[in-house]
Symmetry: D3
Subunit: 242 residues, 6 copies
Amino acid sequence: MRNNRRNDQIRNISFKTGATKYAEGSCLIGFGDTKVLCTASVEDNVPSWMRGTKKGWVHAEYAMLPRATSQRVRRESVVGRQSGRSLEIQRLIGRALRAVVEPTAMGERQVLIDCDVLQADGGTRTAAITGAWVALRLCVDRLLRENVLEDDPLLDHVVAISSGLVNGVALLDLEYSEDSRADADANFIFTGVGNLVEVQASGEGKSFSQQEFLDMMAMARSACEELVALQKEACTQTVCTL
Amino acid sequence: MRNNRRNDQIRNISFKTGATKYAEGSCLIGFGDTKVLCTASVEDNVPSWMRGTKKGWVHAEYAMLPRATSQRVRRESVVGRQSGRSLEIQRLIGRALRAVVEPTAMGERQVLIDCDVLQADGGTRTAAITGAWVALRLCVDRLLRENVLEDDPLLDHVVAISSGLVNGVALLDLEYSEDSRADADANFIFTGVGNLVEVQASGEGKSFSQQEFLDMMAMARSACEELVALQKEACTQTVCTL
Amino acid sequence: MRNNRRNDQIRNISFKTGATKYAEGSCLIGFGDTKVLCTASVEDNVPSWMRGTKKGWVHAEYAMLPRATSQRVRRESVVGRQSGRSLEIQRLIGRALRAVVEPTAMGERQVLIDCDVLQADGGTRTAAITGAWVALRLCVDRLLRENVLEDDPLLDHVVAISSGLVNGVALLDLEYSEDSRADADANFIFTGVGNLVEVQASGEGKSFSQQEFLDMMAMARSACEELVALQKEACTQTVCTL
Amino acid sequence: MRNNRRNDQIRNISFKTGATKYAEGSCLIGFGDTKVLCTASVEDNVPSWMRGTKKGWVHAEYAMLPRATSQRVRRESVVGRQSGRSLEIQRLIGRALRAVVEPTAMGERQVLIDCDVLQADGGTRTAAITGAWVALRLCVDRLLRENVLEDDPLLDHVVAISSGLVNGVALLDLEYSEDSRADADANFIFTGVGNLVEVQASGEGKSFSQQEFLDMMAMARSACEELVALQKEACTQTVCTL
Amino acid sequence: MRNNRRNDQIRNISFKTGATKYAEGSCLIGFGDTKVLCTASVEDNVPSWMRGTKKGWVHAEYAMLPRATSQRVRRESVVGRQSGRSLEIQRLIGRALRAVVEPTAMGERQVLIDCDVLQADGGTRTAAITGAWVALRLCVDRLLRENVLEDDPLLDHVVAISSGLVNGVALLDLEYSEDSRADADANFIFTGVGNLVEVQASGEGKSFSQQEFLDMMAMARSACEELVALQKEACTQTVCTL
Amino acid sequence: MRNNRRNDQIRNISFKTGATKYAEGSCLIGFGDTKVLCTASVEDNVPSWMRGTKKGWVHAEYAMLPRATSQRVRRESVVGRQSGRSLEIQRLIGRALRAVVEPTAMGERQVLIDCDVLQADGGTRTAAITGAWVALRLCVDRLLRENVLEDDPLLDHVVAISSGLVNGVALLDLEYSEDSRADADANFIFTGVGNLVEVQASGEGKSFSQQEFLDMMAMARSACEELVALQKEACTQTVCTL
């Protein structure tokens, strides 16, 4: 039996919207003890290969503070480059958000999403995506209020949740102590209407059956509605601070 | 209708085993016009965090030659780092192979898998994984023959195939002209007994339904047996050269 | 007249000790809207040039989140190196703390101080130093409690405050809107007994007289006692979270 | 006595023209077991210092696959930079080709030559140059056929061959086992009319006499006609694949 | 008692103006055995963030030759980046010079100051600043003579000197053997009229009293007039060479 | 007719031995206006691949100060890497010196040769080699005097000189104004007994005949005795300074 949770139960989810003063949208999200600060910044430019297309772009970056984890890891700027893991996660965040953005409605500008993990207890990428969507939503709301944008380019919610196989049992929203002994690990990203945006599943030195995979996906699918409801509620909260 | 193939048909698959003279195992694999040179090199050391564990390791690296593609891309060593895409793919290849390797049977040594794409027409990561397994198999066979290893650490086959949604239709083993207009793109990695090792599915600016996902997975699952049979045949062929 | 403050008045100072779950010592410090997360991590090793000396070391690193500021700045890990400004500040933080540490009492281990600016409204380096001392104090207290250390190596407090010349008038603890139009800018670091640890003063495209410099120093000197009292109070507070 | 060759005899030379599908010109050249894939790519730009000069440029890059050699070497993109050896060789290749190119006839465009060593058994730089010329010739032929170019900018052949002193005896076209015990090592690059384009000779921990140098040069000079004839033949062959 | 000097006495100061043939201004300055080659180079561009402002810029770079010191240090270009110390010093040199430059009188161009330490015996940053001013003065004189500039943008002298506390005694212009055992170390930068441009003081593992600091500043202030007189004399000397 | 020199005449050659205070051997060499500071530093270690071989090593590094040339070039440590040209030259310097060093007589230590070009007017690599040999000779003499070495590992002189073809005429020891319009450029490195150590000849966008090459080599050969005599004289001079 896990730590006071049912196998298909997500951790306590918290949103502090408006967490930072300068960003056009921001949210400090908590999935249990995992805390990720997500900000959305607007820039009046796009990557060079998009210039002149009249389309917008959403770019994401992901990093962990050196002591977000149980053991301190070396700062990426000191090492001189982002790790493969960080690059993989930030590419995932960007793709997930772009799946629900209509680029022509954004105009030729980009929103830069920064997801900085302040504390990591498993599920940082799913927390980052779920929080990044809120930061993006608040940012777009502001651009709509200020008439920078005419039409809403953000077409639907995006939420993400992990699941895994521990001792042959599927568990939802793994915390670190569970994740570190899982035989397989999966991340599912859904839209508000329940479509998939991204699926990632990996055996950790083992393989897994299609049925085990489907069990994990079903569990994730149910949690998605809950996360969407929480995002909706968070976006109507008044602004708070760090 | 696609280019002379049924929707659930893989391209012509070719293996040139023993393609290079020095590597302990090697294979030039072709998935249609996609050509990947896979080599397996043995080193009597392991990453520093594994020292003293009496376990072995499999590490993979992936790169494309600058003009493997229709448009030349900048050489990564000139840029000064591997791209996020390359890092993501080589992490995937390594994880996939390690899922069928028994580390204690390897002893404290590592096998370095190099997957260099000589020509890219879609599906380079699935070709790389399927070919890398052959290079690893040949390498392990040699270590067994030379009595460096006592027990076979390679427990099963690993094969990979892509599928995608193009105009709402699921297609197997996409070539570049199909991949570039797909709405979703998935890669499935299976073992010889039909278990999953890794699943990756992404919407390309769109979401997709669970049913569409399951259709893609079913198609990939059927192709897996064919690929396993081809790997078996390739491993018994006589040695050839570039 | 400045924003509701006397010229020689510091901003509202806040400390959230125990802000993170894993670090041996931590503190989220606020100097007004400037917020810096400071953590202290213990490692059982020292830089290579110190091995065998039976002495300890304190190393500091400093960074700003990309959107800590009014305009987003590029992430240093993406650029591939720390900026000159970051390196300069982290060298300053490290030197300041080492001035009150007895290295032989630490044994051959090091404490790594990470100062990550979550929000920047001027005075990030002085906030970082003042908060880093609290994180270090809490960390050392823990090592003493756990009998890892026998004698307290942290000999005194360290606090820091900025001052500057704006339109010929000396102001204490500049916020960004003041700092950006200052003619000179100074940072003073004091110990608990009122000694100096570090002085930095720079004209911003201008020179300044010795008298103006002495005025700034006097103002900083008075604020020091207040900061020391606040540090003392913070170290006795109960643990809280982000 | 060497391995079934006279001292002044080159190894078996093979050309696979049209080896890759996308490049404007390509050639997989073999000097015995040394195999180098050479491609020529056209870009409608020139280095910034040449803009507006109405002249073209030929740039070359050289790399070895990690397991091209008997011992695997670290991948340059993982190390984060090209080795001094690679840079030196690619500068040599570029200079050699530019010696027979009329830049004004190229127009303001550049041809990028990529020489990737798939297998290395000595003489990789001479094989690369000899193969690169074929790739460039095929590329230019195509641009002439497509009327992109009016006049042929490629004025003559370029061929290269190594020679060395082993136990006081001059040998032509050293393979690795000879090269590794040579007292001196030389590379000669000639045009089709027998002029020199580049000479490089180095003592390997020893000096050598002018007469020994002249012996090596004479031997190389004779081989040049043979190589030019082989290039001519290769350029008329039908297209093949990897 | 120190090495043949009073405590408040600077070392023998030497200037070789016109030390290099190409630079618009140059000076090989000696503070005792510390030798720094300072050159000023004019470029008709400014950093991108200044374009269109009609203002000029002064940028400085600082480096030490690998064997400038008693123990050879690794070459920064081999390491792949400038050290934190080098970056800190070159930022200091640039700020110091800009404090006496009227940017609008320079027009939209920049002067690049290179300070390369050929031999280091303490006080390299103060020697560099004092010599860099001479190189800049000579450079500006030349631009005025050639009518590139109409009005003199260099408003005053800039000189720098170090002082430190050794065994509780304040010493001026420390040489390496003194610096390495100092308890505190300070650098003062003054203008010709005796204003401050920059103050830096650091305890070396210790704190120091305000009075000790004031003693060091007083000593530095007196030396400043001497240095200004020497700069004036140097600028009227005839041109010499390395 | 060239600038007051016969075609086969070298420029005024100057040696300032003992130019720096710390290096075990040093020499500021001038070939006309080309000035290179060469230092030799002894370290009690060897590259990792040589450990345990009881042999020594000579490693060379080469760089130009940013304003050594007519136009300032970017500092390599700011760019983040050494240029291909610098790497090529320093590899050449190292090979040339190692050709006359008996590694077993050095014991397991290395000499690091730093060649820093203070002013560049053509022929920097030949000046560097000729000066580096003097620095190495002085360094070895010191190690012999101090009984660190028993037997002299430096077996012969090494000198280097350039020649080139300008308007079809062979010229010796090109200065920059000649080099920049040469059709071919060659560097010859000889030992004291007149053997070759290294030959490098390149056409500059052109080819050249074997006879032209032999003319350049003959000219270089004659100059070699003169340079050897000058080296001998320099090594007996008393120590001077920068």
